[in-house]
Symmetry: C2
Amino acid sequence: MPRAVSLSRPTRSRKRADRYHHGDLANALVQEAVRMIHRDGVSALTLRAVGARLGVSRTALYRHYADKAALLEAVSREGFRLFRQTLYDAWDGAGRGMAGFEATGEAYVRFALEHPSHYRVMFGGDAVGHRDPRTAEDAAAAFQVLIDNLVELQGEGRIPPGEDLAYLGHYIWATVHGVAMLALDGRLSGRVETDELTRYTVARLRGGLATPMAD
Amino acid sequence: MPRAVSLSRPTRSRKRADRYHHGDLANALVQEAVRMIHRDGVSALTLRAVGARLGVSRTALYRHYADKAALLEAVSREGFRLFRQTLYDAWDGAGRGMAGFEATGEAYVRFALEHPSHYRVMFGGDAVGHRDPRTAEDAAAAFQVLIDNLVELQGEGRIPPGEDLAYLGHYIWATVHGVAMLALDGRLSGRVETDELTRYTVARLRGGLATPMAD
DNA sequence: ATCGATATGTTGTCATCGTCAACATAAGGC
DNA sequence: GCCTTATGTTGACGATGACAACATATCGAT
């Protein structure tokens, strides 16, 4: 059986379509894992199946990742980097300021819905425990987009000067994260539409920005 | 080896400490599963280990639950019932009204932190998919406590009459759920304390109740 | 060019796990 | 006291993650 070598990011040395060395297996494994998680969920992911899909043996993976958790962490890292870029583009693309804040909030939930496999692995909790410190860095970088957002708004006087942006930021993050998770888990009952709940939520968050939180 | 029969809720017929029939295995399995998830996480839960801990063979479980997912769903159901009662007690114990709202919100996050194994199974997403319709009912009953909360507040004029309580309710739910998940996953960075973020969050939610959301 | 070091992929094997089938034992009604 | 049913056990199987030993390709130094 010829190997189904379909490189997602082909290297320069792509001499033959059927060869012993894959070329960019490390990356292909992540992409295939994402595809399979998207299809059947994280708990159904099997290393053997990932290998089979790539036309590679079941243990080829171990030359690139220490174990299954390491592969999932790679998925998580890719997700956080993609996430950060998505949030930044939304913020910057909307001209920053208050419109940028809204765009970021809506982009947050949209990302979770459009990349459910990434998002679930990123925030799966139990499964992936950030063994690689770079994962935490990538996650922090994504969160930082929101903080930068708030810092600018505070500079423009749209957020009270005394406001603690760490708390405000975590509060906002928790809110959009909650909406994303509930929507992803199919927990929005009946008449509540995800898109509308997202807009509703972002509108409420925006409305609360000017309110000082004297404690 | 004598069987370690320690019934969490002993039935009336507890004749001998060491016997062939356990007496209340269905319940004991759930309790032990919760204990083990608390210790090592959901993904490390093993049916064989649960049986061993209860001094029972590895397949005894199948007389009470169809499979592993069914046992986890039982954990989930117990969690939702306990959750509902906890939220209701907080609300009612605080005299309802606005103080009751705050108490409910804080009790929400506290429940997640005090019963992480239950909460994670309840909202694990991928793993447990509510095959038993009663699970969804139990979950809805817990959510209903929040809705009842809002209905009363609206009746007292603390929430604008035209406000859509389904959206407001889901928005609030998402927020506290988000705080609970981030705290549970250890994603609150450095100086942000869970308890204080919870109070901060509830205060912001309360502050927003009076604000009409004209869309 | 070639040769050896290293990276990459494969096959064989093992322990563990969830689950089913067949069997064993207790509980309870007639 | 017996028979039905509920409950628990042992044996087995296929699937899975992982390790070890082996195979093959790549690449730099000479």
